[in-house]
Every structure is written in C-alpha cells, then in structure tokens.
C-alpha cells in the first residue's frame, strides 16, 4: 500500500507487536492503534466510487467500492477485470471480497481525494503516534 511519509524524527528501537497478523485494529484507549485508522477513514469516504484494485498477483480488478473495514479488506461490486481477459475465470463474477493484505495498489478517482486533508490527517496521526 501507499507509504505515508513520516516527517518526524527517527524512531529508535523496533517494537515487537504480537498482535500483528492482519489485524491492526484500533483499541479503545490508545493512540498507537490509530495508525491504521487513517486509511480506513480515507477509504470510507470513497465508498460508492469506482476504483481499480491491483493485487499482488498482478490481477487488476475494476469495480465500485462497496465497503471497507479496519483491515482495509475491500468489497467491490459490479467488477470487471481491467486487463485483457487473461483471467477468464473472473468473467462471471459480479461481486468480490478482497483481503486487505493482498492489495498492492488502489487506483482512485483524483477528484474524490482531498490531498491537503489527507496530508493533514497523516500529520496528525504522526503526532499522535509520537505521543
């Protein structure tokens, strides 16, 4: 997924987080869990828009973003495989669920994104994490 640049100082030390395993959910009580919420919030605002999701196995799926969850799993409706149909098994599929961890890129409509707001959100999140 996209990498948000961290504009703050260096992070000293690497912390082992035993909860890692596809579930970076937010916790009621901590700011550290909020890192995952930025893109969740972002994708929520894109629900209902047409996106193209490129997976790590090079499959590109174009569809309407139906929903997203805190793991950034994506449900698409009315999908079509964008590239020439070398994936004929997808011909009959109308809706799909994509696990968040297999997504490489999500191509978005540019006018639906407020980059300044996104940058602000990222900065706030960086501040929060630092605290």
């Amino acid at each position: 997924m996209l990498v948000v640049p961290k504009g703050r100082g260096l992070v000293t030390g690497v912390w082992a987080d035993p909860e890692v395993g596809g579930a970076p959910g937010a916790r009621a009580g901590g700011g550290a869990g909020a890192a995952a919420m930025l893109f969740y919030s972002f994708f929520k605002s894109l629900v209902g828009k047409d996106v193209v999701v490129e997976l790590k196995n090079d499959l590109s799926i174009c569809g309407t973003l139906h929903s997203v969850d805190q793991y950034l799993n994506i449900k698409l409706t009315d999908i079509s495989v964008t590239d020439p149909e070398k994936y004929p098994h997808m011909l009959s599929v109308k809706n799909c669920f994509i696990r968040g961890s297999v997504v490489r890129y999500v191509q978005l409509p540019a006018d639906e994104v407020d980059t300044q707001l996104l940058q602000d959100a990222a900065r706030k999140e960086a501040l929060q994490q630092k605290q």
């Binding site: 916790r27 009621a28 929520k44 707001l117 996104l118």
Partner: protein, 763 residues
Amino acid sequence: MFRYQSLEDCPLDEDEDAFQALGEEDEDIDQFNDDTFGAGAVDDDWQEAHERLAELEEKPVANRERDGGGGEDTDLLGDPEDALAERLTRLVIDSELEDPAIMQAVQTRGPAQPGGLNSSIWDSSAVLQRIRGPLLTQEMPSVSVLDYALPQRPAQPREEERDPSERALPRRSSSPVIGSPPVRAVPIGTPPKQATMPNFNQQILCPKPVHIRAPMQQRYPPSYGERMSPNQLCNVPNSSLLGHPFPHSVSPVLTHLQRAQLLGGAQAGRMSPSQFARVSGLVGSPLPSVNPKLLQGRVGQMMSPAGGFRAFFGAPPAPPPSQPQHPPGPGSHLQSLRPQPQMFRPDTTHLHPQHRRLLHQRQQQNRNQHRSLNGSVGDRGGHRSSHQEQMRKDPYANLMLQREKDWVSKIQMMQLQSTDPYLDDYYYQNYFQKLEKLSAAEEVQGEGPKKERTKLITPQVAKLEHAYKPVQFEGSLGKLTVSSVNNPRKMIDAVVTSRSEDDETKEKQVRDKRRQTLVTIEKTYSLLLDVEDYERRYLLSLEGERPALMGERKQKICDMYDNLRGKAPGQERLSDDHFMQIMCIRKGKRLVARILPFLSPEQAADVLMATARNLPFLIKKDAQDEVLPCLLRPFSHVLYHLPLGTVTSLVQQLTNLPQSATAPTNPHLTAVLQNKFGLSLLYLVLSRGEELQSSDATTELMQDNQWTELMLMATRELLRIPQAALAKPVSTPSNLISLFSRYVDQQKLNLLETKLHLVHGIR
C-alpha cells in the same frame, strides 16, 4: 559403536558381527513390544478408571438433584464451573486483567460478580441460564479449547455416558501433560449444543494461550457497519432492486447431527464462536445494561442508550423506518442514522448523511438504468425469487448461525470503538464537512437551503486510563512476561548517533540545510494544525479555560512566524534567507499560504514584502512546481488591510523601480511580468492602490507623489514591453483601466488596454 577412522578401515567380515548384533536386538524388540502393547503395558485399565471417575462425579450430581428437587437444571453445570472460577479468581492477584487489549475480547470482570461469572457484553448470567436451561437435557460437550487450560475435566466421563452414539473416537487415557491433545467426548468439530459461557471466561483468566479459531464459513466478513441481521433489525431484508449483492440468508438452524456431518472433522475450537453467538443472539436487550461506558460522553445527545448503542452497529429495531425528514428523538440535527428501506444497504451503515445522500443518488441512477434495461417493476419480484432460489440451492448456506455472525461482527466493531472519533476518523469527517460547506455555499447563492444540514455524530467511548500491570500469581517466583499490544517487547535497540564530522562536503551541507528546512516546515505544520483546531476546542471547552486557550493560540502563532522568518530574538531580521529556503520547497509555499490568515497585518505585510523582494529568484525556483499561484488568494486578503504606504513600497519591490538611469533593462520587472503569479500579484497590488487612492481623498501629499511617480514609471514599462512577453494572469481586476487613465493619455490607454486585455470584450 563404530570405532573406525574412515569407511575404508571397516573390514568386510565385520558385517556378520553387525548382523548378529541386530539379531540380539530382535529379542529386545519383542520385549519392548510386550511392554508397549502386551501384558506389560496395561498399567491401568482405562475403562475401569473411567467408571471410577464417573461414579465420583455422579455422587455430587445425584446429591444436588435430591436437594434441589430436580428442577434446577441450570445449576448442574453452573456449579462446578462456578467453584472452579472462584478458585481461579483467588489465585490471580489482579483479578482484573489490566491490559485493555486482552479484555477487549471479553469485557472486564467485575470482581463483585457472584460466582465469578462474567458480566461481559456477550451475556448476562440470567440470559445464559435461560438459554442453557432448555438445552441441558442433551449432552454438554466438552470444550476443546478449555482443555488446554484445564487438562482434567471431571465432567467429561459423565457426558460421554450420556451420548455414546455421538462418540466417534475412543477415549484415550487422560494425560496429565498440559498441552497434549485434548480428550474429547464428541468428535472434533462438532459444535456445541448449548452455550458454555463460564468455561470461556475461565480460560481468559488462565494465562495459557488460548487459541480461538475463526468460524469456518466466513463468506462475507462484515464490514464496518453492515451486518446486523435483517430479520432482527430491519424490516425489509432484501429490498434493493438490484438484489443485495451480499445476501443475508435466512438461516434455519441445522440440527446437531447435520452440522456434524457437514463439518466432519473440520476443526477444533469451533466452540467458542458458537457459544458466544448463541448467547449473544439477542442483540439489543442485554447490551445497554452492561455498557454504560460506551455512551459516557454522548448520552445526552443520542437517542437513548439502547437505541444509541444499536445505532452504532445498525438500525434500531423498534422505531419505524423511513421517516426521512424528521427523526424522533432529541434535536433535529442529531439523527444521523435512519433506516431507509429502499437503500442500497438494507441496514444502515454509519455514514455521514451527505455521504448517504450521494450514495442514494447513485443508487437511484443505477436503478433507473436497470429499470430501463429490464423493463418492468416485476423485476423486483424476480430478484427476490432468484434470491430464494439461490438460498435453497446453496449447499453451504446457513453454516453459521446468525448469532455466530453477530459475534464475529461484534469483535470487529468493538475494535472500532474509539475514544476520539475526531482524530481517528479525521479524514472522513472533515471531507464530508467540506463537501457540505460547498453545497451549502452553492445553495445559499441559489434558493434557500433545501436539505437539512445534518451532522455526523460518532459514538465515543470514554477513554479509560489503564496502568498496565502484568498478571501475577500467588506464590509464584517472579513475574510473567506477557507481551501484548500495550506492552510490547523491545526487539532492537537503535541508538541515535549525531554526526559531528568536520570534513563534510559542500553537498552534504546543502543536503543537511535542506533537511533542516524540511524539519522546520513540519514543525510549523504541526503548529498550524493545532492552531486551526483551536476553534473547535474553543467551542468544546469551558468558560474558564478559554482565555488560556486563546493565549496558547497566540503563542503558537508567534512561534509559527518565528519559524518562518528564522528565529532571531533580539536581532534585526536582516536576511530573508531562512524564509527563502522555505519558499523554495513546494511544501513550504503551501505552508505559507495557510499560515497567512493567522498572522497579524504587520507580520503578513512583512512576508509579502519578502516575497516581492525576491520574486525573480522564487519564480526561477518554482519553475517545476508551479505552486506559487496558491499564494494569490491569501495575498489578496492580506492586501485588503494594507495602507497605501505599504502598497507603494510593495510596488517598488515588485517592479524594481525607480531604477538607476544606467540600467538599460529591468530584468526584475521582466521576470515578474513574464510569470503568471508575478503578473497577477502586480495587478492585485495595483488594483489595491487604485482602490485606496480613489476612496481615500485625504492621503498625504508625499505619498501621493511617490505613488504617482511609480505609476508613471510602471506604465511606461508596461507600454515598452512586448505583448508576447506577458504572462496570462489569473485574474485581471476591473479597476486597472481607471488606474491607468490617470497617468496616460487616451492613445496610450488604448494601447495598454489591448496589450493587457483589460477590456473584457476583447477576449
């Protein structure tokens, strides 16, 4: 055994000896065999042991039956577990596991609870008892997960007796070794017949790792808000014309045997979800009573605690759907969740009302398209029936009970509870706020506001301050190290070493300088975000705190300005260097544009002057980014507040006039005029000057002269410059014509007009 140095040393005739040795071993093998499988092996007749244990168990059970009169079935299973639970609570010093991450899955135990039964959000004891009652006549299968925690369960033999037909595997002898495969009375993978809540709670108390496997058939894991069963919560399950893409199947409950057949030996550990699901099946009722924390911050504002909580997950079942304009409940602007039957999602998701409106519109469009394609309204019925057909034919339907699905969804939803939705959900909320503002602005220009302005209220969980204490046990030596999200283990120690090399190259210095500037920009950005946030905080704060807030805000603004201009307390700010560094970076320019509204007029004028002074340099640096025009709007706002004197000097700076007589060309001015931003800025300044002059008749004479001279020179220059060299400005103010008309005659005025496209009709 082999004492040869190498393979070659091994003589051939040794083979016979080796075989002989093997032969000797054969006899040993026989003996081993006997010990393992034969007479020697039977230390203990498992069947006998089983009988013994069974008798042991039946006695207390029988006693209780006699005492209790046989009607209190519910206590049968409750009591052994309760006793166990009590013992465990006594063992654990901190009965409340402080780590909120762990307790998230099950709500914190109140130590005062009777019998140690948990008042988690998944159940209340009463509910549990009620549910367990009718199902108790059948067997109570053991919990495989539980076995990891409590390896010896005296209850098992009893169960096995009750339902021998279910038994697929012969029992092995109970192993005292913890962690060995569990003894099962029922084939692995069989879901339970009844809920066994306390078992699960006990295992939370135990520090041993508990493995909970997700339920098998997770077809469509619920996303943020869409999952509550339609038959429970909403009135119209499958109402969308398109056919809901992720149909909720109405689930007939399979019998125990059918399930076992379906799942076979699929998995162990399926107990827990089912347990939860069964117990928590009643979504609405038990929850509000045990979850006041969820609504602490918001009770006054939400519909009702029960409704509010449900609203967090989905639509409230009780109030009627589709009251599109005027919701019940306090405050017309608060109801952000309204079940709308014809929606794309049959149950409401927690969407911003603007977002929902947009989605709805989109759905309408699609629906209309479909309608035109398919022809008739009878489509709806067609879709429904095809759904039902699908549901009938689908062999994998209904593997999960609705309660189980709810359980899974609840886990996810609980993870989404946030203490500060403004921060956690920053992007979404602000994005739609901006959209609403835009549409409001548009509407106000048109007719009066048509739609009601609804706000999105996100339920907020109160922040619980946890001082995390690791779990301790009585009588143990030392402490357990359990690392979790709140208490992670440090894996790598990275030490920051600052470089203080003397022989840094020039490039490195430049790079470092740039990095320094970047860091300054980021620091200033955080200040800026804070300052922008003050308005909201001001509204939320109490009266007494407000002056302090204002003071903080002012301080931060000063800090920002210092950062911009290069901190030089007590010094004259002689150099624009620092400021220029910032302005060379794209981020920096945007930063300046955002900061300007907060600065005082003097400070803002200062910034403006610095920009004008160095404009050619900036233009050159901006060639790639082309982001300078973003500064135009804040600059124009600043200009409104400037007096004529400042405006005059601004023009001076911009045009680099008056020049010495020897200079043939004016590269400064040329550069300015050739650049879009430069030209636009010049126009703005000129127009402002003209405004001031025409409005204010009492300006000092000296200034008038200065201004007039400047204008004369400027117009001369403008006339001189070829039209091709002029950039296209962002906007041309209308009063420029009147400005120029003061200083030039009609002919030149016409020239100027055509050159600068001052008359709008020409374009």
